[in-house]
């Protein structure tokens, strides 16, 4: 009996294991609750009722890096906090991603010329998504998370953050 490929095509999705895993990972990112400054207020507002991160599956904020796979650097990173933050990043299991939320994390923001502020998180961490704003509104945080979702689903989009 002759097999009609069109019919088959419509009913089956062929994919690789990696692609399937990336879809699963990108729809259930567990962020690490590590809010530094004002951006953490907008991060909490995004997780709360009105802007509701849980529509996308990202509302599970874990307290320990062992159980989280996304580090949202929400706020100003100072040199004193740089060491602990780098350790938190190292202690997260692979695959892990970093979002630099707010202009302080992107480039030091209004405090870039201060003696105690790291001018941009990319100095110490490989960053996947930068979210502009001071503080970025919850909608732009959600858009940043969706950008990360796209990046996870097709890894060839972004540069290789770690030699996976």
């Amino acid at each position: 009996m002759e097999v009609n490929n069109q019919e088959l095509e419509k009913n089956f999705i062929t994919t690789t294991v990696d692609k399937f895993l990336n879809i699963a990972r990108s729809n259930s990112i567990w962020p690490l609750s590590c809010g530094l400054a004002c951006c953490s207020m907008e991060m909490m507002a995004a997780a709360a009722a009105r802007f509701d991160l849980s529509r996308f599956g990202y509302e599970v904020f874990r307290a320990s890096p062992r159980q989280s796979d996304l580090l949202i650097v929400a706020g100003t990173l100072t040199w004193k906090m740089a060491g602990p933050l780098k350790r938190l990043y190292d202690q997260m299991p692979e695959p892990k991603y970093v979002i630099a939320m707010g202009s302080c994390a992107n480039s030091g923001g209004p405090f870039a010329d201060s003696y105690s502020v790291v001018p941009g998180v990319s100095e110490i961490l490989p960053v996947d998504v930068y979210i502009p704003g001071c503080p970025p509104r919850p909608e732009s945080l959600i858009q940043g998370m969706l950008e990360l979702k796209k990046k996870i689903q097709n890894p060839e989009l972004g540069r290789k953050t770690s030699d996976e």
């Binding site: 294991v17 895993l21 062992r66 602990p84 350790r87 190292d90 202690q91 299991p93 692979e94 695959p95």
Partner: protein
């Protein structure tokens, strides 16, 4: 009679299968990149201070003991609850006697202060 136990064996097999399946696939799929910093104990991002293997207080152990005591009691209640219909009045009374004895144990523990945290 033997095949009765076959069901229990099957249940045990399935009970083992599920966790092994879940952890097993995770074990094969996840990327493995061990590194020195990852192995350091996590303490809110800073180093641990002093040695962490210390003699801690006995009250932790007592609390756990009292908990296990009443946890096992519930395990027995499960078995009884399953066969509740078939068992006659005798089993009902039997179980309440069992519960009463444990209630005495509970009151004793309470009076001895095992429930307050010292």
């Amino acid at each position: 009679m033997l095949h009765e136990f076959a069901n229990v064996g099957l249940l045990l097999f399935c009970a083992l299968l599920f966790p092994l399946l879940a952890l097993g696939t995770a074990f094969f799929i996840r990327p493995k990149k061990p590194s020195a910093e990852k192995a350091i104990p996590y303490e809110c991002g800073v180093d641990t201070v002093g040695e962490t293997w210390v003699q801690f207080r006995i009250s932790y152990f007592l609390y756990a003991l009292v908990f296990i005591l009443f946890d096992i009691e519930t395990v027995f209640l499960y078995l009884w609850a399953i066969e509740y219909q078939q068992l006659g009045l005798f089993a009902l009374i039997e179980m309440f006697v069992f519960l009463f004895i444990l209630l005495l144990g509970y009151v004793y523990a309470w009076k001895k202060g095992a429930l307050e945290w010292k």
